[in-house]
């Protein structure tokens, strides 16, 4: 619905991809691991290999969790925009159709957080 306003109401979106200096935003959350209070926001070049995201970027963010050492991201169960999805580790974000501000989630079956509390 349009905003009710005194004048024509149209303003640019604050976070379009052109404002990120050649990068894009990608969000990644580890399901059932609320140790990390919210999914992470990463700012990456669209030609980042998905394998590099998993091997270089995500460990920095998630390694404080005691279960991280048991995680094999190639076996993780992924979702993209809430829908089941299978990544190809050798393809780039752009090739995988991961657009700006895409939300990805992964599950690691068998790992249920600290004392099984999903923390």
């Amino acid at each position: 619905m349009a905003v009710k306003a005194l004048k024509h109401y149209q303003f640019p979106a604050a976070d379009t991809q052109d404002k990120f200096h050649g990068n894009q935003l990608v969000y990644v959350g580890w399901d059932k691991h609320l140790f990390f209070c919210a999914p992470f926001a990463f700012c990456l070049p669209p030609n980042t290999r998905f394998g590099d995201l998993c091997d270089k970027v995500l460990p920095q963010a998630f390694s404080a969790h005691p279960e991280w050492s048991q995680v094999d991201l190639s076996k993780a169960v992924w979702k993209k925009s809430g829908q089941p999805w299978q990544p190809d580790m050798n393809k780039t974000l752009a090739e995988l159709g991961i657009g700006h501000k895409e939300a990805l989630r992964f599950e690691t079956p068998g790992l249920n957080g600290i004392q099984g509390s999903c923390s």
Binding site: V3, A13, F42, P66, E102, R105, I114, S119
Partner: protein, 517 residues
């Protein structure tokens, strides 16, 4: 000879009538529509502004008299508090962090409320509401000033009180209350009245003021308690104004109902989300607790708010749907929020800590359905790690909700182990929200929320570093530069309470006051 004495004083009712009616005139050089350009665009229809009734019948002369008296009393107490080192009488220096949150997150809102009510007063064509808005506008600026004055005593001794004015424009979690008021202020005057006058000042105000002011009383902070008392009679008047306003709108024209209902739905949810910060304060930041967040929600929202909505049912107003989620969230949000501030304590203007065993037992008694099951294992783990010298600080930026701007920390209504993701698409761009309530608000007015100044995205765009910073320079540390831009001094204002300057100073000063050293 008997003289017929003239009646010198007008009765309250007459005085109110003289001082709030017939003060203006029909303009002729310009049309009334041009003089009051904001009166109609929101779609609210008003046929007779004189039907506005202020139950307090307060006039300006009486207003000045009451307020002056309250100011005199307040400042006498504040002076005594300062002269007697009242800050050393609080339960525990951890409490002072609740005051930092109040000063940086709430006091600036009082100031915006002052501006907003002044604007609403200017824009309503009716004299009754204009006078009422004028008084509320003055109240709000008074509240901002008295809070700042009261808390400036703490600024002499503790960190984190030094630059609230600068921080409200910049710091990530302060964008939550700031964007709430920006959203209301950028709407028309009628929506402002529902957003702030009704939803915030009537439905939710007790959940904000009672926790902070009772928290101050329970924790030995007489200065802040007195600020609360000084504001209390104003707050009662604000609640009445909010309620009068909604009834007035609904009685004036049946077409107003769907518009008002939509605003209530929106602002009840917006307010509930903002109050997450208060819930966290109540359950974790007060060394001596008043009541749990869940209990406060049940008393002040479910019982009192329920009675209010029963009263409004005769106008056709329904309880906002999104509040059924709030009834589930009351068991979780304070723990989820504290977990968030604990891990992002590196970027906050106050200290955080893990609860002691005794405090965890209190939490499990207050939250028997959730605390031990979902939160105690996490908090115990963090505490043990901190004891091993491995205190957990999260340094990767979180994903934020496009509407409430809180990190996406809330869980699914039917699954407290799963983060709640909601997604919308608008003009080819993706937008993420934390709940059905926030998604609904976004989808109703996407043009408004696509402009949101989301702190995380702004940092990644490079807009949150001090001027002249070169992000391409070798050794560039983005988080350190963001803290400088916030005016948060690393190692002093932020991080854990344990080992902080505040903790050491308080212990040393209180020691001097109570022991022979």
């Amino acid at each position: 000879m008997d003289m017929q004495a003239t009646k010198k004083k007008l009765g309250l009712k007459e005085k109110y009538a003289h001082m709030t009616r017939g003060l203006d005139w029909e303009t002729t050089y310009q049309s009334m529509d041009k003089v009051f350009p904001q009166a109609a665009f929101e779609g609210i229809k008003i046929h007779d502004w004189d039907k506005w009734e202020d139950p307090f019948r307060l006039t300006m002369d009486a207003y000045w008299k009451y307020q002056a008296e309250k100011e005199r009393k307040l400042y006498a107490v504040l002076d005594a508090f300062a002269q007697n080192n009242g800050h050393l009488g609080v339960t525990d220096a951890r409490y002072i962090n609740a005051l930092k949150l109040f000063l940086t997150g709430i006091s600036p809102l009082e100031y915006v409320a002052h501006r907003g009510f002044a604007a609403a007063g200017r824009n309503f064509p009716g004299v009754g509401p204009r006078v009422a808005c004028l008084m509320q506008s003055l109240d709000e600026v008074r509240h901002a000033q008295t809070q700042i004055h009261a808390l400036s005593n703490y600024n002499k001794h503790y960190n984190g009180f030094h630059d609230f004015k600068h921080m409200i424009e910049r710091v990530w979690y302060l964008s939550v209350p700031k964007s709430f008021f920006d959203d209301a202020f950028s709407a028309g005057p009628f929506e402002w009245m529902i957003a702030i006058g009704f939803s915030f000042e009537y439905v939710l105000t007790n959940l904000l003021f009672v926790p902070f002011m009772s928290g101050a009383a329970y924790n030995g902070d007489m200065g802040t308690v007195t600020v609360g008392f000084s504001a209390q009679s104003d707050e009662a008047r604000h609640m009445t104004l909010g309620l009068e306003c909604i009834k007035f709108m609904l009685e004036q024209d049946p077409d107003n109902l769907p518009i008002v209902q939509k605003w209530i739905d929106k602002w009840a949810w917006r307010g509930t989300r903002v109050l997450t910060l208060v819930g966290m304060m109540m359950d974790y930041m007060l060394p001596k607790r008043v009541m749990s967040w869940k209990e406060a929600w049940e008393i002040y929202f479910e019982q009192n708010g329920g009675a209010l909505f029963n009263d409004l049912a005769r106008y056709g107003i329904k309880v906002p749907e999104c509040l059924s989620q709030a009834a589930i969230d009351k068991e979780h949000i304070s723990h989820q929020a504290w977990a968030t501030f604990y891990q992002y304590s590196g970027a906050a203007d106050f200290h955080t800590w893990m609860p002691t065993d005794e405090e965890m037992d209190w939490l499990s008694a207050k939250y028997p359905n959730t605390f031990d099951k979902y939160y105690r294992p996490r908090f115990t783990h963090w505490r043990e790690e901190a004891e091993k010298g491995n205190r957990f600080y999260n340094s990767t930026l979180p994903m934020l909700c496009q509407v409430c701007q809180i990190p996406m920390l809330f869980t699914e209504p039917d699954d407290p182990t799963q983060i709640c993701y909601r997604e919308s698409e608008y003009q080819g761009e993706k937008y993420h929200t934390c709940s059905d309530g926030c998604k609904h608000i976004f989808d109703n007015e996407p043009d408004k929320y696509i402009q949101a100044w989301l702190p995380v995205h702004q940092i990644y765009q490079g807009n949150c570093f001090p001027e002249g910073t070169d992000p391409t320079a070798e050794g560039f540390n983005p988080l350190a530069e963001v803290l400088k831009w916030y005016h948060v001094e690393h190692g002093r204002d932020n991080l854990d309470f344990e080992g902080s300057e505040d903790q050491k100073n308080f212990a040393a000063w209180r020691g001097m006051a109570t022991k022979n050293v």
